[in-house]
């Protein structure tokens, strides 16, 4: 057991666990943040994506000890005062989810993409979402949600 210091969704946390524990398990079980999902445990599907200092990172393999002292934002932390943020609202407006299991990861990846690049080309989008799988076939709607946000001229807030 060892202590790791993390800042998660703006709150400083000290977690005491096996330092080899993948970050995802700490978020879901220790901190009870169920937004990031276990999809493969192999960094192949994107369901577990979170933001580390604003950059998307897959959380299912890398140990919590690697993230000591870092700023972590999960999909829960993107909401503002309990209300969906611009990316989340765009996903709702375009019905960009069916079963929704991949959705947290896609919302996180989209948020990071648009912060970096408010008007991404299709190639930029493909690259940003290359690690993200969706089995229900909601891709078209995710792309529309991103188009909607890009058309809003990067006025989204994150």
């Amino acid at each position: 057991m060892a202590k790791s210091k993390l800042t998660v969704n703006g709150t400083a946390q000290e977690v005491d666990c096996d330092p080899a524990t993948p970050l995802l398990y700490v978020l879901r079980n220790t901190l009870n943040l169920k937004g990031a999902k276990f999809g493969c445990g192999l960094e192949q599907c994107g369901a577990c994506a979170v933001l580390i200092d604003g950059e998307p990172v897959l959380s299912c393999v890398r140990a919590v000890s690697e993230f000591d002292g870092q700023n972590i934002t999960t999909v829960e932390g993107l909401s503002e005062n309990g209300e969906p943020n611009a990316v989340q609202r765009a996903f709702i407006a375009e019905s960009a989810a069916q079963c929704g299991y991949c959705t947290s990861g896609l919302v996180v990846a989209t948020t990071a993409l648009l912060k970096r690049n408010p008007q991404p080309s299709r190639e930029d989008i493909n690259e940003a979402l290359a690690d993200h799988l969706c089995r229900c076939g909601s891709h078209v709607r995710v792309l529309k949600a991103i188009d909607r946000l890009a058309a809003a001229g990067g006025s989204h807030d994150r």
Binding site: Y25, R28, L42, S79, A97, G100, Y101, R135, C136, G137
Partner: protein, 713 residues
């Protein structure tokens, strides 16, 4: 009357009015991302004249919800939708009559707005919640109840937001994987290397070390599991236990080429007429009529496909005395209860099964089996809630797949280009292995974990499904007017992998074969593929669907280097009609790039247009993924497609623009639409590849290697 209503004829089984201003709607159909709860809520709100936000869709659970079998076969709108529609209409009339008596006015003088019943004559009013709050109706549903006229619809057919969408995009804990009751232990199961292996020996000292570390080892025969409070410790313990297990491999999986095996293995062959197999001898394939102009033959093939749910299956189970409670994403809680009660020798009443969302799958994935795994561990640790999750490898290697199939077709054309003879034989393993317990004993055979416990069940022996358009013979019967088609289903024995229901069952493969072969015939006849289809159809809705697709797909001339192809089917010849067009390009490295898809759908009265469009888009994308990429691979030692690298699927970089044309039929019956698009989509892709390359792709997947091989031959 639908089976759902026959089984649950009473209004209280479907609807309740609460004292706090809500309408609770009970359906036996579960939401797996197909938005059925959104559509059912709209129907209930419409018939009852209440606002949508008053509708509470009840959790689906045994003992409370109507038993509507399995959420499958695109039946939910036709079964549950129609039942809830009639329940709403019956309740509305009941409430009007009750209000009329209470207000002492004529029922005809009453009008309803959001549950407020008001008399136009006296202006007196009473609302549903005062009138009926928390009281049973105690009346049967009237199958002849007058339903609302489509012209009066306020909710049905209008744009709706999917229920629960805000929870999904904000990461709320709605999945069974997210459950966390007090005292819960996480659990994992340790599977053998392949189906036939059984535990030979277990290193007991390794088990002791695991137990000493605080993780429980639960063993029943060859069924191994670990459970503990710390999930990561359980994951590590599962790895250690797997390393401590010595398996008797018992020969391994058959390694003969599956497409050869479908030609040579023992099989049950039955002729099919009007969509139904007959217990009769298979007629020989006759020689073509003497005066035909052309006779063509072809054999189309598809490999095994997996559901590939994005989240591995999971379930929570807890015993309570003699009872077991199970929370599961199974698509059939009542059939799971029947099978598991049979398998464990329990009374059905002692199993309480609650549906909780899981990752979408569109078929029979690991959901039912993991529920049994969880129940076995819960039984060994009485009273403790057990959340058992499969790993990615478990899901990929152990879910029941969609069978490989082969379709041998032959047809003859007369001099005018009319099909005058048609034969199709379809081959494959079963699609019909969902849980059930008939005949007795079948429950244990159909639930995977019960084959591995001490004195476990034998593997099930599939019997040919005999109902209309199921299994291998789903959409075997072409909708086209071909004289006396010769149709045969062949249930092949001895194929290597475990199979069951996946979206469309045999429909995907059969429509792929029919619709590609039609293009081959059209070319032989020198007739445009659209015209060739239209001349062989006599159903006006089918023709309108094909025409709507063609009008859009071919509106503009295609860019250079691109190919276009179409496909059409009416799902099970009785559900939604769909025509699909594809425009694609084949790159220099033989990869297929999808540029554009057009889908036309006639699903009768449209309830939730955006939901219907999403089902169509999702059906297209899943089919494109099957066609371009997917193939379950295996060797003697087991399945080798154990992750997303070894079983690739379609990604964001190959998603085309998709235009969906809805052909609304106000007032017509709902036609199930969740599986209508996939078959035509697979065929349209193959036909478009031919259009641009001249290569007929008769075996999936259409990988660059397959295209290069086709070009060489």
């Amino acid at each position: 009357m639908t089976a759902s209503l026959e089984k649950q004829p009473n209004l209280d089984q479907w609807l309740a009015i609460t004292g706090d201003g809500r309408v609770v709607v009970r359906s036996g159909k579960v939401d797996i991302g197909q938005r059925i709860s959104t559509a059912l809520a709209a129907i209930a709100a419409e018939e009852l004249d209440v606002s949508l936000d008053r509708i509470a869709m009840a959790t689906v659970e045994t003992g409370v919800s109507p038993d509507e079998g399995v959420t499958s076969g695109s039946n939910s709108m036709q079964d549950s939708g129609q039942a809830i529609r009639l329940a709403g209409a019956t309740a509305r009339r009941y409430l009007i009559n009750k209000a009329a008596a209470q207000l002492d006015v004529e029922p005809a003088s009453l009008e309803i707005a959001d549950g407020l019943i008001r008399s136009r004559d006296t202006n007196r009013s009473v609302n549903y919640w005062e009138l009926q709050g928390d009281q049973p109706f105690e009346v049967p549903i009237d199958p002849e109840a007058t339903v609302k006229a489509p012209g009066d619809y306020e909710e049905v057919g209008n744009p709706q937001t999917a229920r629960g969408l805000a929870d999904l995009v904000t990461g709320q804990p709605i999945f069974v994987h997210d459950m966390n009751p007090p005292g819960m232990l996480h659990a994992r199961v340790i599977r053998p290397p392949h189906y036939h292996a059984r535990l030979h020996a277990l290193d007991e000292s390794a088990c002791e070390r695991i137990e000493t570390s605080g993780v429980r080892v639960v063993r029943d025969g060859s069924h191994l599991a670990v459970a503990g409070a710390d999930e990561y410790a359980v994951v590590k313990a599962a790895e250690r236990l797997a390393a401590a297990a010595d398996w008797d491999m018992r020969g391994g999986l058959p390694t003969a080429d599956i497409f050869d095996a479908m030609k040579t293995n023992e099989r049950v062959s039955l002729p099919v007429a009007d969509g139904i197999p007959r217990r009769e001898p298979v007629p020989d394939l006759p020689d073509p009529p003497a005066d035909v102009a052309t006779t063509l033959t072809a054999r189309y093939e598809k490999p095994y496909h997996m559901h590939g749910s994005l989240g591995p299956s999971a379930a929570l189970a807890q015993t309570d005395g003699d009872k077991i409670h199970i929370w599961t994403h199974s698509q059939g809680i009542y059939v799971l209860r029947e099978a598991l009660a049979g398998g464990l020798g329990m009374a059905e009443e002692d199993l309480h099964i609650v549906h909780v969302p899981g990752a979408g799958c569109y078929g029979h994935n690991g959901a039912d089996d993991v529920a049994v795994d969880a129940a076995l561990v819960a039984r060994a640790l009485p009273g403790t809630p057990i959340l058992l999750k499969w790993t990615r490898e478990d899901e990929h290697a152990w879910e029941p797949y969609s069978t490989c199939m082969a379709m041998a077709v032959q047809a003859s054309l007369d001099a005018e280009g009319n099909v005058v003879a048609w034969s199709q034989e379809s081959y494959g393993d079963t699609f019909m292995m969902r849980p059930r317990n008939s005949p007795p004993g079948e429950g244990a055979r159909r639930l995977l974990p019960l084959r591995y416990i001490e004195n476990g069940a034998e593997d099930p022996v599939p019997q040919p499904a005999m109902r209309y358009h199921v299994g291998i013979h789903r959409n075997l019967d072409p909708l086209y007017k071909f004289p006396n088609p010769r149709l045969v289903k062949n249930l092949v024995r001895g194929l290597p992998l475990r199979t069951s229901a996946l979206r469309t069952l045999g429909g995907f493969a059969n429509v792929y074969a029919i619709e590609c072969f039609l293009d081959e015939l059209a070319e032989a006849a020198g007739i445009d593929p659209v015209e060739f289809r239209l001349r062989h159809l006599d159903d006006d809705r089918a023709k309108a669907c094909v025409q709507a697709l063609a009008d859009s797909l071919f509106k503009d001339s295609k860019p250079d280097n691109r190919g276009r192809g179409i496909g059409f089917a009416q799902y099970t010849n009785s559900k939604a009609y769909s025509a699909v067009g594809v425009e694609l390009e084949v790159s220099d490295d033989a990869a297929i790039k999808l540029h554009r898809a057009v889908v036309s759908v006639d699903a009768g009265q449209v309830v939730d247009p955006d939901g219907l469009i999403m089902q169509s888009e999702g059906g297209f994308i899943q089919a494109a993924s099957w066609a371009l990429h997917e193939e379950v691979k295996f060797d003697r030692d087991g399945v080798t497609s154990r992750d997303w690298d070894s079983y690739p699927i379609l990604r964001f970089d190959n998603i085309p623009e998709i235009e969906t044309i809805l052909i609304d039929r106000p007032g017509d019956p709902y036609l199930g639409a969740g599986e209508a698009v996939s078959g035509p989509a697979g065929a349209a892709i193959a036909n478009a590849v031919y259009d641009t390359t001249g290569l007929r792709l008769r075996r999936m997947p259409f990988t660059p290697e397959a295209l290069r091989a086709a070009a060489m031959s």
